[in-house]
């Protein structure tokens, strides 16, 4: 009965011009979105590879220079563009692409793509994730809203029942017929993306397992949507009402609740303003050791402690250049301050995320959105991870430079210059994003909520249609 209904529904859907046109539009939009995204992805990665190479070349060829001058001269950590960002660009556009690494300061990522766009960018971009998250569910509504109401309105439901039809089997046949075209379209999109990405060896590490996980996430999302629309269609008597209710659910789930979640999260756990954030860091910095100022209180204390520790009377008797040593201690103190304040931001982010997770219980869009970005490595967690990795690299680089300065020169020897080939010894910044399994672990609550939605909506659909 299920397969029989599936075949009949597929025939009906295929012959229905309305559905054919809708699918052609989605295919067209998807093709355009993939084309735009592929070009964007290629161009960004070419820039990334070029910028990385150029920046390292500049660093390696500084010539003879004081290590602390080199520390102030700084370098860049570039954020790679990940292969699956082709499908879901996530928050990449708003987080910046590179971080300037210099002495004494933790900088935020800069060159934010969104800031380079005109006001028209407010209309949003045509990206595959937009089609996957918003347009396809809308298409599902158009296809499925009258699936059961039309049987009632036409009177075919009575005829089916008189033939001994079992409600849930008929509905499951319909379910398969609605799901199949969406599955095929999405499968084609993901396969195309996979083939494109796996043939771009220079650009990041592409993993089929991540792509398949992303695909599975969207399939679960669509299954939930189909269930919701069919539950409505089975519950109400008129197709018009079913359409209005289904569209209301789409508006609520995809537009209203995510925006509500965002407002609520910002209201309950606000981020400090940029001015407050900078002022608090400056205040804390002043209270501690300044590597450049040998006369401040903390510097004097360090001096006493160091002399005592090495059992000498003056700084020039120390077996290293105390200026480099103090510089490094100041760097460590500042790094702690930055970690403290950035951790506060992370805690706020985590609290905000908690609100999203709670609201995910009433909107399957939210866990899908977050999982999709996480798997594509375009979410805030990955950005934080990159930002922390860049900061760790900055701290290690500063230690590398300060240690060299301290070991290879004498106290007061500010004219010391490192050899021209010294800079090449600094390890390259190599960022490894979180693995797929780590990403899934981090987003386990989202996975769990999606599964509850999946099983719950199927259960409700089964009981709603059991005795049609």
């Amino acid at each position: 009965m299920i397969i029989h209904t599936f075949k009949k529904e597929t025939k009906e859907l295929w012959r229905d011009g309305r559905v054919r046109i809708a699918f052609i539009i989605v295919l067209f939009l998807t093709a355009v979105a993939i084309f735009i995204s592929t070009n964007h992805y290629k161009s960004v990665n070419e820039q990334y590879v070029e910028a990385n190479a150029n920046e390292r070349e500049v660093w390696d060829n500084q010539g003879e220079k004081n290590p602390h001058s080199a520390a102030h001269y700084g370098t860049y950590a570039f954020k790679p563009k990940y292969p699956l960002s082709l499908i879901d660009q996530g928050v990449d556009k708003y987080t910046g692409t590179s971080i300037f690494l210099e002495a004494h300061r933790r900088n935020e990522a800069q060159f934010i793509a969104a800031s380079d766009q005109t006001g028209l960018a407010r209309f949003g971009d045509l990206t595959p994730d937009f089609i996957l998250l918003f347009i396809i569910p809308l298409l599902l509504i158009l296809v499925a809203y009258n699936s059961i109401t039309k049987e009632r309105e036409r009177g075919t439901l009575r005829l089916l029942k008189s033939q001994g039809a079992i409600g849930w089997k008929i509905v499951f046949g319909k379910w398969l017929a609605i799901f199949s075209p969406v599955f095929i379209i999405s499968f084609m999109l993901f396969l195309l993306a996979g083939l494109l990405l796996s043939n771009l060896p220079d650009f990041g590490v592409f993993s089929w397992s991540s792509l398949i996980t992303l695909f599975a996430t969207y399939m679960i999302y669509y299954a939930i949507f189909i269930n919701l629309v069919l539950i409505i269609s089975a519950t109400v008597k008129k197709s018009g009402i079913a359409l209005v209710l289904s569209l209301s659910v789409w508006i609520l789930v995809c537009l209203v609740l995510p925006k509500m979640a965002s407002n609520l999260a910002e209201y309950k756990y606000p981020y400090p303003t940029r001015q407050e954030f900078s002022a608090n860091i400056s205040k804390d910095k002043k209270l501690g050791l300044d590597g450049h100022n040998p006369w401040n209180k903390a510097a004097k204390e360090l001096e006493k402690k160091t002399l005592k520790e090495y059992g000498v009377d003056s700084l020039s008797q120390l077996p290293f250049n105390y200026d480099g040593y103090r510089m490094q201690k100041g760097e460590e103190h500042e790094a702690e301050i930055y970690f403290k304040h950035y951790n506060y931001l992370k805690t706020q982010y985590s609290n905000q995320n908690g609100i999203y997770q709670k609201l995910a219980a009433i909107s399957p869009y939210l866990p899908t959105r977050f999982l999709s970005m996480a798997i594509a490595k375009t979410d805030y967690n990955t950005h934080w991870d990159f930002s922390d990795a860049a900061e760790n690299y900055r701290i290690e680089s500063q230690k590398f430079l300060n240690d060299h300065f301290a070991k290879e020169s004498k106290y007061g020897e500010w004219g010391f210059k490192a050899d021209a080939d010294f800079w090449r010894k600094l390890p390259k910044f190599n960022y490894e994003p979180p693995s797929l399994s780590k990403t899934i672990q981090t987003n386990m609550s989202g996975v769990f909520i999606m599964l509850i939605w999946f099983v719950g909506s199927f259960t409700v659909l089964f009981f709603t249609t059991k005795s049609l």
Binding site: H4, E12, R154, T156, R158, L160, S162, Q163, G164, I170
Partner: protein
């Protein structure tokens, strides 16, 4: 066969069907006559298991409609007043689908044979049913019953709205089914068609079976007079 014993259906204070008892044997065509609201459609709906009776019992081929409604579906076919099919499918496709729902599997030739037996013109077999007349759709309904090999046929005003030719053709199809020992219960307003096809005629009013005649017992004129008399009796 159809066996109904004291079947009653009430909605609050309203009695839609009041202790109805009747039997339709194999090869019989029982026509239920009566005005709107007399209880004819309620009787059909109860036999189809679409609604549950308040009391009484009904059997389709000795299977209880109340206790085993799903099982009774194996034995019956139903044609409503306005049989609607899937408009984008052809007659063959519609027949294939409805037969499949009843767990009957046929090849294309067999399906076409059922449609031929139901009197549908061959040229219409593979055309979308969206342009079918009501009479053509009713013939597909008969084909569905034939394909199901139903022993009981429930008809709810099947000739209403049909032109005389189509109505006559439909009557002939019922006679064919009668020869195959199908027990037919038909709710209708059409006294003349009932006289033509039925073996037994019952007149319902206010949910009760007021009169019942074997068709051979009365002429059309006598039937008409008796019917009118029954319908007006309680109104006086």
């Amino acid at each position: 066969m159809v066996q109904i014993d004291n079947l009653t259906k009430t909605y609050g204070d309203l009695t839609a069907l009041d202790a109805l008892s009747l039997t339709v044997k194999k090869g019989e065509i029982y026509c239920l006559l009566g005005a709107n609201g007399a209880g004819k459609t309620t009787t059909i709906n109860l036999l189809l298991g679409f609604i549950k009776p308040t009391s009484g019992s009904a059997y389709i081929n000795d299977v209880s409609v109340v206790e085993q409604p799903k099982l009774t579906k194996n034995h019956l076919a139903y044609i409503p007043e306005n049989l609607m099919l899937y408009p984008s499918l052809t007659a063959v496709e519609n027949l294939d689908y409805f037969s499949g729902i009843a767990n009957k599997k046929f090849n294309k030739e067999e399906l076409e044979t059922f449609l031929v037996d139901a009197g549908l013109q061959t040229s219409a077999f593979h055309k979308s049913v969206s342009k079918y007349s009501k009479g053509m759709r009713q013939k597909v309904g008969i084909a569905i019953a034939l394909a199901k090999d139903a022993k009981v046929l429930l008809l709810d005003e099947p000739t209403s709205g049909l032109d005389p030719k189509a109505s006559n053709e439909f009557g002939q199809l019922l006679q064919k089914l009668r020869q195959k020992e199908v027990a037919t219960l038909m709710a209708t307003h059409d006294l003349f068609r009932a006289k033509e096809v039925a073996t037994t005629i019952g007149v319902m009013k206010d949910g009760q079976l007021k009169q019942q005649w074997a068709v051979d017992e009365l002429s059309l004129k006598e039937l008409e007079d008796s019917y009118l008399e029954t319908m007006s009796y309680n109104s006086l």
